[in-house]
Amino acid sequence: MLGQFELYMPTDFTEACALKAKGARPVAGGTDVYVNRHGGKDRDPEIVDIKLLKELQGHSYTEGHGLDLGALTTHRDIETWDVIKKKYYAMFSGCSQVGSVQIRYRGTLGGNIMNGAPSADSIGPMLVHNAEVTVAGPNGERQIPLETFYTGFKKFDIQPDELLTRIRIPDVPENSGSAYYKYMRRGAMDLALMGVSVYLELDGDVMRNVRIALTTSAPTPVMSHSAEAVLEGQKISDEIIIKAAEAVASEGKPRSSWRSSAEFRVRLLHDITILVLHEAIERAGKSFEAKAESIPMRLYPGQDGLKPRPKEEV
């Protein structure tokens, strides 16, 4: 049961901001908001549905500029968009693993950011792709790097009268590759127990502009700048990749919960970092057209690709 509430469905942006300012809860896809209401965790007396606001709608890609994503862009929009697989593979990986098809048709990127879960699957990929968010209110709009938009657990650089309107992500060169690995205990419909995202560019066999982000390892999705520094400007080698994994493992601050112990999570961080680095490096070496081809996972030096679980035949 959703409980009692008043519902507003404005088409005017300033009206929506005014409603939020006086305490109404914004709702986009509702896959967090209505779940929290059903459970009785949340009983906000007023809800403002923001799906009719054109300022938050639409998504496009422009060569040279990159992605302009309305906050209402759904995970399914990202999953089924060919440019994402070619240029922003980590985002494909993240968004296509959110919940289920039904959840992905409704759940939005704006909602994934603003729900503030450390396990949110689209955030690490957007962080490594240098996303910048636009928040807007009656006093105009501001652009903020996604990295500094998070100020604490479920806390953001946003005012009560502001809404998150758009997400901008720069274009990428062909020698770039990105990857996200989501560790789950089940094959589907599970939150990330741990996740690591990587973006890098290859200059021959030298890694540049390396960006690494961690999911479910701190109160917010975070970057691992110490691991980035280990790799930046270095030649690819097993030694350097393991060093980066150690840096990630010592920087991540996962906590123990009923899902798993902190010790296990630190070990996971280490191993997942190795997997995603190999994946991003492989992808960086391929043409845009070939970037979505599957890449065997490799964990230890000299090891052949870890075989993904055998696919069932029809």
Partner: protein, 160 residues
């Protein structure tokens, strides 16, 4: 308590209704339109028993408000049979033994309809991935995948 007037098409029929703002699509379909194929399992998006198709997209009707439906079109399992004949997916579910207690079946059917709209010739892997939001306690899923592949054959036959 505030209400909203909506004009919504359900299984091809247009309805003009006044709905409370806090009514879910699930409750609206079951309690106002008596479409009892739409099942409540978890009421929080986990089980898929409440899956219906809104404007071509499968959604968990427990997480959608009826108030959002103005101008939209909804399909439930009741809308699948045509001219007294079951939809090929429904026939295939029966023939392949994909129905045991049946509680998940309407939601499974609606997800399968959406799946076949996206992938008319799905592989087993695609079936598993696209149906991940529908839980079944009885069948072990293999026969559900069998049924969907059987339905694809049946539909091919119809086109020919």
């Amino acid at each position: 308590m505030r209400t909203v007037d909506i004009e919504v098409t359900v299984n091809g029929e247009v309805y003009n209704k006044t709905v409370p703002v806090n009514q879910t699509l699930l409750r609206f379909l079951r309690e106002d339109l008596f479409l009892n194929s739409v099942k409540e399992g978890c009421d929080e998006g986990e089980c898929g028993a409440c899956t219906v198709i809104v404007d071509g997209e499968p959604v968990n009707s427990c997480l959608v408000l009826a108030a959002e439906l103005d101008g939209k079109s909804v399909l439930t399992a009741e809308g699948l049979a045509k001219d007294g004949r079951l939809h090929p997916l429904q026939e295939a579910f029966l023939e392949a033994g994909a129905v045991q207690c049946g509680y998940c079946t309407p939601g499974m059917l609606m997800s399968a309809v959406a799946l076949l709209n996206t992938y008319p010739h799905p592989t087993r892997d695609q079936i598993r991935k696209e149906m991940e939001g529908n839980i079944c306690r009885c069948t072990g899923y293999t026969r559900i995948a069998d049924a969907i592949l059987l339905a694809v054959d049946k539909m091919e036959g119809q086109d020919a």
